[in-house]
């Protein structure tokens, strides 16, 4: 069966057990979202191409925990995502969603104007204005522009020589425009392990567009990205991503949710995609990871984000942290930080997102001596915004322990 059946057809597996609803972080804090079973396999039986009359569907954050925990293999989050796209296509997509779903476009505008743009982003009056006009919550975490893209850094970065191994790095929009340091540290960690790091030209993977129901635009982006990355994958290069959600998009989500199983470029890329921690741990399992770590004497709360859990690879970061002497890591027992990409930015959903993340914020505050660790950028911003504690990508701890700073 085709991808439509993977997703919609999977509703046939639902035995109504309600496990997804007990795990759903959103329906546990707000009655506005009736829960993943309700809007997913249940209501899907009532939907035709005419769309769905259930506006409450839009309160799904898209975190994907329901799909992860479903013991029957129902693609709950994916069903919801597709249903929401149809619903939004019918009812119209707010300007806000069209803007926040295009991080690379924002980056292109904001990067050359970084000092001015950042001044405004930090300005309370401006944020208030944005909330009133666009309905982006004034307190929601917003990254600042780095001013210089990772791409421009990478172009001037001399390749590692001699190198016997090479790897392709998919950095994603946030590392390019907002956190080039994360990408630079990833490059350093990979080079430390003997890899020449290839950074192809790349644009957005389309994930934020997909989450906001702009499927056609999302397809255009992800197809183009797949076209750019495919020549490397075809030649056998592995591709690693520091953005765990964008990596998941290329690995699985775009094919399933956007029904792009027929895109051969994407299929080839999917087969070579690795989350960076997944990749590094696989090196370690083969005895190929350098373990010349210096002690890091700190206690770090680690939060494996929902999207990272969607990879179905366990928590490789935890095992990597175990290699670092002195590092005490406390694994968060909270499923979700609440932000779910762009969900928590939206005025009508900000409070829900904060409530979802509240137990995590308490834990981070109680545990952290210096920083928290988390694989996803938007979750890091959310944690930092809520707790005031800097949040870092796991590669940053490896980078520090390797003494690369």
């Amino acid at each position: 069966m085709d991808t439509m059946e993977w997703v919609r057809g999977s509703l046939d597996h639902c035995v109504k057990c309600t496990i997804c609803e007990t795990f759903c972080p959103v329906s546990n804090v707000t009655p506005l979202f009736p829960g993943p079973k309700y809007v997913g396999p249940q209501l899907e039986r009532f939907r035709t191409d005419d769309g769905s009359p259930d506006a409450s569907l839009d309160y799904c954050s898209g975190c994907g925990i329901c799909t992860t925990v479903c013991p029957q293999g129902v693609k709950i989050a994916e069903i919801n995502s597709q249903a929401r796209a149809k619903m939004k296509a019918q009812r119209g997509i707010p300007l806000r969603d069209r803007i926040i779903a295009r991080p690379s476009a924002m980056g292109k505008v904001g990067t050359p104007l970084a000092p001015i743009a950042n001044f405004f982003l930090k300005n309370h009056a401006f944020r208030w204005l944005v909330e009133r006009t666009l309905r982006v919550h004034r307190k929601a975490p917003m990254p600042l522009f780095a001013g210089r893209t990772f791409q421009s850094w990478a172009r001037r970065h001399p390749p590692l020589t001699p190198a016997t191994k090479a790897i392709v790095y998919f950095h994603g929009c946030s590392a390019n425009h907002f956190e080039p340091r994360v990408a630079q540290m990833a490059v350093a960690v990979l080079e430390h392990n003997g890899y020449r790091v290839i950074v192809p030209r790349q644009d957005c993977c389309g994930l934020p567009l997909q989450s906001n129901g702009l499927f056609d635009d999302a397809r255009r982006y992800v197809r183009k990205l797949a076209r750019n990355l495919e020549p490397y994958a075809r030649r056998g290069y592995d591709i690693v991503a520091t953005s765990t959600s964008c990596g998941l998009m290329l690995k699985r989500e775009a094919r399933e949710i956007l029904e792009l199983e027929d895109d051969e470029d994407l299929r080839t890329v999917s087969a070579h995609m690795f989350d960076i921690c997944e990749f590094l741990l696989s090196l370690h399992e083969r005895g190929a990871l350098r373990t010349d770590f210096r002690p890091l004497d700190m206690r770090v709360p680690y939060h494996a984000p929902c999207q990272q859990q969607g990879h179905g690879i366990g928590k490789p970061a935890l095992e990597l942290f175990g290699l670092i002497p002195g590092l005490e890591v406390v694994d968060s027992d909270v499923a979700c930080c609440g932000v779910a990409g762009t969900y928590g930015l939206k005025t009508e959903k900000y409070d829900i997102a904060m409530e979802v993340g509240a137990p995590l914020f308490r834990q981070v505050t109680a545990v952290a001596t210096e920083v928290a660790a988390c694989d996803s950028e938007t979750c890091r911003w959310q944690i930092t915004r809520a707790t005031g504690i800097p949040s870092v990508h796991p590669v940053e701890l490896l980078y520090r322990a390797y003494g690369l700073s």
Binding site: D12, K16, R45, P53, D54
Partner: protein, 522 residues
């Protein structure tokens, strides 16, 4: 013994009987309708839900085809609330005779059925799961129709015109005096009381059971019960009625109705309309037929299988294949046939033509009693129906949305809320959860009552103020009834569901040992 007096007694609470009661009441006759069970539990409530365009019969049975399209147009006008305007497709699949398609088109034109050939690509765009190897595709005005809803709407309309509708009243005997049927002796199967009904005229609308009723007056009506089985698949594999463009055959249609798609059907002569079984090979035949129309059909989830018996009238009961008997209806005037006056039998036909059958019957009745009243059933919409305002699949979701936070959901699969359930219990005045099921589709979804029936039982106990034992009994009857339809199709997803349901009922609730339950009753 209570006695009722009425102008017309209608025997049979299927679509035809209710249609006759409504028609007669609208023409000014006082009417009483009796059925041995609940309304629409014989053949009417047990078909696939197709509102025929007539396309199915254009080559084989043009008279039935003409009747179908005539009534299709009328029912769309008077019963829109019971109809989903899905449209229909006739498609030539790889196993169909290619020449049939041209005869089909000719037949449609002759019968007055709007038909249009569309490109195969367009048909596949509309129904992406359909077999991509189809060679031709035609659109016709098929639709799906909720027979329970239609029958109940007719019954409400008949009641509004003064009819008395008596479900669970079984005819024990007909009263025949002076060469005419004068009424019937009926038994209230729930109250246990016998009731005498004196009637000036009796209409036998008992469908596949018509022979038995006719025999009570010494009349002959040979009805061949033709069994057909149907399988409901868990969700809408198609959103248009999809027919094979071929002579009528087993499993030649998938009907999208409410939340499911139904594949049907078979046709097998049975001796007794109350005694037949669903054979394993029939189920397999349906699954194969489904695979031909929608590749991957076998991997989809079958929810339930059931069967119904068509009332097919044959003057000489010798025909071997019931499929060859006309699907047009037959009105038997027993004065002319058997010398018994004031007694008509209406049988044969199809759900789609029930209104026409009723009209013909009441016309004949008027002629027999020598009055002239024009039929108005083709023009007056049923309660809650407005021409052009069809039922649509999302309507329950839409109605649920504003009350999400205040009205508890009882049946999750079919979105039955507590308020709706309580209202149905009060309205139906029944303690039988299966009656409630047919009224609001309680427990008809994927879990087949696994998660809602124990909830509904508690509510039943509370609302109807019945003893715990009676509520338990209702729960057990329901579970047993659901199991009948699941047991023959146990594989894959539905098997998993059945296991979970079994754990809930046997493991957690220990239903085998409920007071008043199976063990107690044994």
């Amino acid at each position: 013994m209570a006695t009722l007096h009425t102008d017309v007694l209608v025997i049979g609470g299927g679509s035809t009987g209710v249609g006759v009661a409504r028609d007669a009441a609208m023409r000014g006759f006082s009417t009483v309708l009796v059925d041995r069970g609940d309304l629409a539990t014989g053949t009417t409530g047990r078909f696939h839900g197709l509102l025929h365009s007539g396309g199915r019969y254009v080559v084989k049975d043009p008279k039935a085809a003409e009747e179908c399209i005539h009534e299709n147009v009328i029912l769309r006008r008077i019963a829109a609330d019971c109809i989903e305007d899905t449209g229909g497709l006739f498609v030539s699949t790889p196993i169909d005779t290619p020449e049939y398609a041209d005869r089909f088109v000719e037949g449609c034109r002759a019968a007055g059925i709007p038909v249009e050939e569309i490109p195969v690509a367009e048909a596949l765009r509309r129904e992406p799961r359909m077999n991509p190897l189809i060679s031709r595709a035609f659109t016709v005005p098929d639709a799906s129709v909720d027979s329970w809803k239609t029958v109940w709407a007719c019954a409400r309309s008949a009641q509004a015109y003064g009819s008395r509708i008596l479900p669970y009243h079984e005819v024990l005997d007909l009263t025949v005096e002076g060469g005419a049927v004068r009424g019937a002796l009926v038994k209230d199967r729930r109250g246990g009381e016998d009731v005498r009904i004196d009637a000036d005229f009796v209409v036998n609308a008992s469908g596949a059971w018509a022979g038995r009723i006719a025999a009570m007056a010494g009349c002959d009506a040979t009805v061949l019960p033709g069994k057909g089985i149907m399988i409901a698949m868990n969700h809408r594999l198609v959103n248009t009625v999809v027919n094979r463009c071929e002579m009528p055959a087993d499993g030649d249609i998938i009907v999208p109705i409410r939340t499911v798609s139904v594949i049907g059907t078979t046709d097998q002569k049975v001796a007794d309309p109350d005694d037949w079984q669903i054979a394993r090979d029939e189920v397999q035949k349906m699954m194969d037929a489904g695979e031909n129309l929608v590749p991957g059909f076998r991997r989809a989830r079958a929810l339930r299988v059931w069967g119904g018996v068509r009332p097919l009238f044959q003057d000489k009961a010798e025909g071997a294949d019931t499929r060859d008997v006309t699907r047009a209806h037959t009105l038997l005037n027993h004065r002319q046939r058997d010398g018994v006056e004031r007694f008509l039998t209406i049988t044969g036909g199809k759900f789609c033509t029930f209104r026409l059958m009723a009209e013909d019957t009441v016309d004949a009745l008027c002629a027999e009693v020598g009055v002239e009243h024009a039929c108005r059933t083709a023009d007056e919409p049923l309660p809650d129906s407005e021409p052009g305002r069809y039922y649509w699949l999302g309507s329950r979701v839409e109605r649920r949305e504003p009350t999400l936070h205040e009205d508890q959901l009882i049946c999750e699969c079919e979105l039955v809320s507590r308020r709706r359930l309580e209202a149905a219990m009060l309205r139906r005045e029944t303690v039988d959860l299966d009656d409630i099921r047919r009224t609001i589709r309680l427990g008809m979804g994927p879990c087949q009552g696994g998660f809602c029936i124990y909830r509904a039982t508690g509510i039943l106990h509370q609302v109807e103020k019945i003893p715990g034992e009676a509520a338990n009994r209702s729960l057990l009857d329901f579970v047993q009834e659901r199991w009948k339809g699941v047991q023959p199709i146990l594989y894959g997803d539905q098997l998993r569901q059945a296991r979970l349901d079994d754990w809930i009922f046997q493991g957690i609730l220990d239903v085998a040992h409920l007071p008043g339950g199976w063990v107690g009753a044994a």
